[in-house]
Amino acid sequence: MREQLLDASRVERAILSYDSAMLMPALPNSHLAREVIRAANDWSVDRWLSGKDDRLYGLILVPNQVPDDAAAEVRRVGKNPRMVGVLLGENGVGKLFGHPVYHPIYEAAVELGLPVVLHVGSDAVPDTQTATSAGGLPVTYADYRILAAQPLMAHLVSFIGQGVFEKYPDLRLFVVGIGASWIPGLMWRFDTNYKTLRREVPWVTRIPSEYLRSNVRISTYPLDRTPKPEQLVRILNAYGGAEDLLCFASGYPDWDANDVSYVADRLPSEWHRKIFYDNALTFFRWPNTELLKPRAPAVEVGVMKSEIV
């Protein structure tokens, strides 16, 4: 990793995000899931984050099938300064991640100033009992890989629609592994529907795109391989502000990993500083990040008001 990624690409900080270990939260035996995840986090701290290379940071994997256990794990491991976020991993309860059943995890994350990471593959294995794509299962890998974006889109919509960012105004969500060209298509549809259906979710007080811009960041990996690079930039510009939404990620060592120069070539140079560095620097909880007291919610999430605007 040092030779192929860290040194070769001059990576100053790398967030280690596990690989297939992220499937463990959905193990049918929830007690086993909790224990192997604790073991994995301990191993991660001992093996990778104990100071051998100070470019390395990690994510806390959580046994999300029992959200209280997951919150306890966030509090147990999250004090380690080299842990910079919470990895939700596989969908353990089988509900979209904005569902209130998962909220104890977000409460703990906010308490420790950690962002939550939603990684592609969240609903990929039969253990979840959810589906990795809508309308039936995909039958080929190409089909699977492209549509693996769908559960992440649904989880993101759920975070916003279920008022997670109202209940925890300081919660930050990082969406990883599905590129970026989907953003306008999903968010404009969401914004359009919000105008007419918001009475159903009065705790969603702002148009969905505003939550995306204030609380969510999205990985560049895998950068959309549009026929011409300017096509991606053009549709991101049509949505606007992409340079503030995206954080570089390589995806190393996945088959479709992107190296720095590939991404740099395809995105405007004026965006580079933010996407390669600044955005992640202000988003993750790095050592010495000053922890602010989390803000209280301004609305009561889940409560219908008799007077509706």
């Binding site: 039936g136 359009t192 391989r225």
Partner: protein
Amino acid sequence: MAKYQGPVIDSDVHHTWSSDDDIIAYLPKKWRDYVKGSGRAPMRIDPPFMTYPHVNGPNKRLDTFPPNGGPPGSDYETLCKQLLDPFRIERAVLSFDPGGNGALDNLYFATEVVRAANDWNIEHWLSIPDDRLRSVVMVPTQMPEEAAKEIRRVGKHPRIVEVLLMSNGLRRPFGHPLYHPIYEAASEMGLPVAIHVGGQLCEGGNQNAVAGGAANSRLEFHTLANQSSIHYLASFIEHGVFEKFPDLKLLLVEDGISWVPWLIWGLDAHYKILRSESPWVKRLPSEYFREHVRFTTQPLEDTPDPQQLIEVLEAFEGMDDLLCFATDYPHWDADDPMYVSRKLPEPWLEKIFHKNASELYGWPIVSPVLRRQGSPSD
């Protein structure tokens, strides 16, 4: 409609029966007895849907309830008065509401209800001497061979112009070979296949309406409702449906359009892998897409500035050849022609309001003259 004065074709109008009795009358006797046995309430002929109550009550425009009773879309005069006449619609494709009857759990009963609805449709609506009316054949999606028979039986009618797929009866994406008998029959009859959003919500096909878990509000569901259609489109290409049936056209109804670049670029980018698994995919996915796939415009994404949507479509090298105007009348979020003509560039309007649909349905280019000859409401 100051901006656009040409003909308008509406590719998605929802019509329905006043009462279930209208359809039950068309069932064979044994099934009539099954539905309406003595001493009990009749069984339902519409499959239940997942429960996402609408904030308006029904998911219809509240002004579309006909004055003499019955649900929105059940009365021809109201339809003329609210839609066809004021917006100068030259052709309207009546598409049931929503047409998921093939998803009733009892698949034999479902098949009979679908046949009855098609017969009722022809006698009740398509015999009205109004040349603006066209309609679709509903099919029992749980029984593709029966569906193919139904297409061959009903599809000969000159005013039946499309095969409607609504419920996902076999819980496989619609490009799956299980469904190919439907496409063979549609191809044979020269009818495009339309997939209407929402079919995964009903009994008999209910699964994976949204990836990752069930949405918890109508807002969230409605936003994600196109996920299935997105998968169906990918599966049509992946399973080589357009190689197997080179004349087949697919119309995606009510799915929005601004997501299209993401999917098609993604498919093209994965072409090598796609080919290794699906060697029958001989051309770039985008080529099949542009040749075979069309979209209805409604619900058009309401971007802060209309130019933002246009910019996405232009970055994708245009979709003006692929869009067919639709109102979705009488649904709550219906778009009227004035709204759409304000949102889209003027040079696209002739294509989107009538030329693309005429080509899709194999009609000569319609003109206002035709309407005046055929319409009793003038």
